[in-house]
């Protein structure tokens, strides 16, 4: 069902279609482990990812962005919803079918220290996917690993070394080489640069962009750093407490954010320019993120929203398309208010 959706003049292929995805983690108490509630980590999330694009998924810690990524690739079993990738609903696949599917969707992780096995050489780490799927004999594997290391900017001679001999940036490159081993279509990048130093972040981001161009990759780029997301993404989805509150083109989001949370989030990013900083007005949010085990009634953001009204505490706003390609979930952002502006 790799259907083509017609958006205006151009036709773009939907590579991944996520619909109504939910992931609840049960809370159990007592001797009998009674089920007393759920942490609603991902609560009814829907979006499309087009082939060849980068979709940024941003939000603060605990908003469910990482869980969304992990549920798509079925590291976590979804509680409800559909994940349609290349025409198949991943949520219903059996384990062995899912393993086949993972050849074309890979993930790279935040912590380059925890995501590589310290007892395996680089050759073993990067070559393991080929071994698991029996795609190459020993000699071919060696060649392929050498090629992959070159692709990510590492010296192929490094394949005999072990992870502890590498710096954080180099380890992230190794993780990337491993994810590329099976020629995937989609890579879910879960905060791939947030553990790295500023000067190394730029190296890794440039590498991701080069590889996308060269290999036609599609990325879901999960991050909390909004300025880097702005740099790398084509479209951006903003999450708050398990839900997507706004989703649109990168430029539209940053130029004209509609949701009050997006507005506050963007205004909170420090700008590395003292002249701009001097004159900037910040929207300061009061308080902290509510617990996803006990989200507020109505709109999730109603406890901190500067523009809160009565209706926000009663009814949950729908996630609607307020202008072509621009989705937002707020009672006070509607297609009508848009045409007025």
């Amino acid at each position: 069902m790799a259907e083509a959706i017609n958006t205006g003049s151009e036709t773009r292929e939907v590579l991944l279609h996520v619909e109504g995805l939910k992931k609840y983690f049960p809370i159990r108490r007592g001797v009998f482990q009674r089920h007393i509630g759920d942490v609603k980590a991902v609560d009814d999330v829907s979006f499309d990812v087009y082939r060849g694009e980068t979709l940024g998924l941003v939000g603060e810690s605990g908003c469910g962005k990482t869980t969304t990524g992990r549920t798509i690739i079925r590291i976590y079993e979804p509680t409800a919803g559909h994940v349609i990738f290349k025409g198949q609903d991943l949520a219903t696949l059996r384990a062995n079918e899912m393993r086949e599917m993972r050849r074309s969707m890979q993930m790279i992780f935040q912590d380059p220290y925890a995501s590589l096995n310290p007892r395996m050489s680089v050759l073993k780490i990067v070559g393991e996917p080929l071994e698991v799927f029996r795609l190459a004999n020993k000699e071919e594997r060696r060649e392929r690993v050498a090629h992959l290391l070159q692709l990510v900017g590492l010296n192929p001679d490094f394949m005999v070394r072990y992870p502890h001999e590498f710096s954080g940036g180099q380890r992230q490159r190794i993780g990337l080489a491993r994810s590329l081993a099976l020629n995937p279509d989609l890579i879910i990048c879960d905060e791939p640069i947030s553990a790295l130093d500023v000067s190394i972040q730029a190296q890794v981001v440039n590498l991701l962009e080069d590889l996308q161009e060269e290999l036609g990759l599609t990325y879901i780029f999960i991050a909390h750093d909004l300025s880097m997301v702005r740099h790398i993404s084509d479209r951006v989805a903003v999450m708050y407490l398990g839900k997507i509150v706004e989703l649109t083109d990168r430029d539209a989001l940053y130029a004209r954010p509609l949701h009050p949370y997006t507005q506050a989030l963007l205004s909170a990013i420090p700008v590395p320019d003292p002249v701009i900083e001097e004159s900037r007005q910040r929207i300061l949010l009061e308080g902290d993120l509510p617990s996803p085990a006990n989200p507020p009634k109505g709109c999730n953001f109603c406890t901190r929203c500067p523009q809160v009204q009565d209706i926000c505490e009663q009814e949950e706003p729908a996630f609607i398309e307020v202008e072509p390609g621009h989705f937002c979930a707020c009672h006070f952002v509607t297609p009508a208010t848009q045409s007025l502006q």
């Binding site: 500023v198 981001v205 900083e277 902290d288 993120l289």
Partner: protein
Amino acid sequence: MAGTQHLLEVKNLTTRFHTEDGVVHAVNDVSYTLNEGDTLGVVGESGCGKSVHALSIMRLIQIPPGEIAGGEVIFRGRDLLKLSDDDMRKVRGAEIAMIFQDPMTSLNPVKTVGFQIMEALMLHKGMDKASARERTVELLTLVGIPEAAQRVDDYPHQFSGGMRQRAMIAMGLSCDPSILIADEPTTALDVTIQAQIIDLVKRLQHKFGMTVIWITHDLGVVAGLARRVNVMYAGRIIESGPVKEIYANPHHPYTVGLLGSLPSHGGRTSARLFSIPGEPPDLVGLPPGCAFAPRCQYQTPRCFKETPSLEEVGLGHTAACWEKDKVRRV
């Protein structure tokens, strides 16, 4: 600026760690001065010595394996490095306070938040329990803890990350210190909470005329907060100056590279990021010459032989680079 009395004068501060792998040269020959009411940003990547330099000022380096190998830290006319342990304890918290990156590990989990703040007041200010408690509630209210009179008896785990950092700031402020050293206080927090904390520190500084040293890797935070900036690399200050000067007119290739590697705010978002090639050096056995030379696009043979020292490039603006006149912002 000879003759005028600075609040804090750091002279040739050098800190080393003796480890199994060899001697780690964490802070090398760091000198700067700080006046009353200043806000100094100290920027650099992990391992550049920015935190160790602050811990050395506070004399919180564990000896051994650490060693403050040389230099002076003159605070109000006294060299802190020469004080007895007892005298130093009276300076810490009371005159120079420090807040840390991770508020969870710097608060005691089995004591209430209130007790930990009261402790400092009773110790340094000789307050009795009742007045210390009263002052603690005032402080917690000041830093924006809701219902402080009730929350004062909470344990750290009952506070959220942002609230814990507020409590740490309340603790830091409790004895009206002249200098507050903030070591990456917002790095573990979300941006919206970070904005709250920065706003709070700015307001408090305005109110009490406190001097602040803000250590961070985030050039954005420094831009909005600091008046002066020290950029550190491999244990040295490689550029120092007024914040606007440094951002508009950087003269060290490392500063230029750091600024260039950030995505720009507005404008050419799809342009490639400038990236500094290579990795920061290992602080064990640093080779002679400029530590940045192997990664530098302006390198000359001289850079690998002689270490440049900070020299004036503008008003109150210094850079340590042999090629500083050729360096241009990218």
